[in-house]
Amino acid sequence: MKIALQINEGPYQHQAADSAIQFTKAALARGHEIYRVFFYHDGVNNATRLAIPPQDDRNITEQWIALQKEHNLDLVVCIAAAQRRGMIDEDEMKRQGKDANNIAEGFRISGLGQLIDAGIEADRLIVFGA
């Protein structure tokens, strides 16, 4: 079955970001396809490559990157939400005249249409948030 996820909250602040990862791992283990993970609202903050969590703690972004590599996940960061919150990739950086970017490899920035598309194409859409 094709399952899509929407994540509304940033890493560490709310457990929603953790639950989404645990759910994704279990869905893959059960043989389902993860059609897309859409990061919306503060959820876009999961995509930063600049975080340095305590060494004895989990690294949420690294977990997504590992899952992405292993299962070729489509990790989409909402562009409108990302712009408000200072999450940008190299293309956006150049286009907007900013001097740095912070999106980790494995995530792509795209529009809200990708969320609607996930709703249409996936068999199930599940939202994690606060």
Partner: protein, 100 residues
């Protein structure tokens, strides 16, 4: 159609659980996750609400119950499931409604 409802807020601080209970149809499933798992504990007013709702299946996510140390205090009739069980519930129901 059958619906899976998820509740991730404590019923003692938020009205979310009550809202979900008010709108969930008979035959649907309510899965308690994150801080929502406190709704599954005994000896409080929330336990009575669950007891009086016989036509809805209540589940609680094991990992979240254990993290909060409540696995020994769960009310009767609440099914304990793991993350894979969560995935199975998503697959078995037609839609998923997250009560955020």
């Amino acid at each position: 159609m059958t619906m899976l409802h998820t509740v991730n807020k404590s019923p003692f601080e938020s009205k979310t659980f009550d809202t979900c209970l008010g709108l969930a149809k008979g035959g649907s499933t309510i899965l308690l996750i994150e801080d929502g798992v406190y709704a599954a504990t005994t000896g409080n007013s929330v336990a009575d609400k669950i007891k009086n709702t016989s036509d809805i299946n209540f589940c609680v996510l094991d990992a979240d119950a254990q993290a909060r140390g409540i696995e020994g205090k769960l009310a009767e009739g609440i099914k304990v499931i793991d993350y894979e069980g969560f995935v199975d519930l998503v697959a078995e129901h037609d839609t998923v409604q997250a009560w955020l």
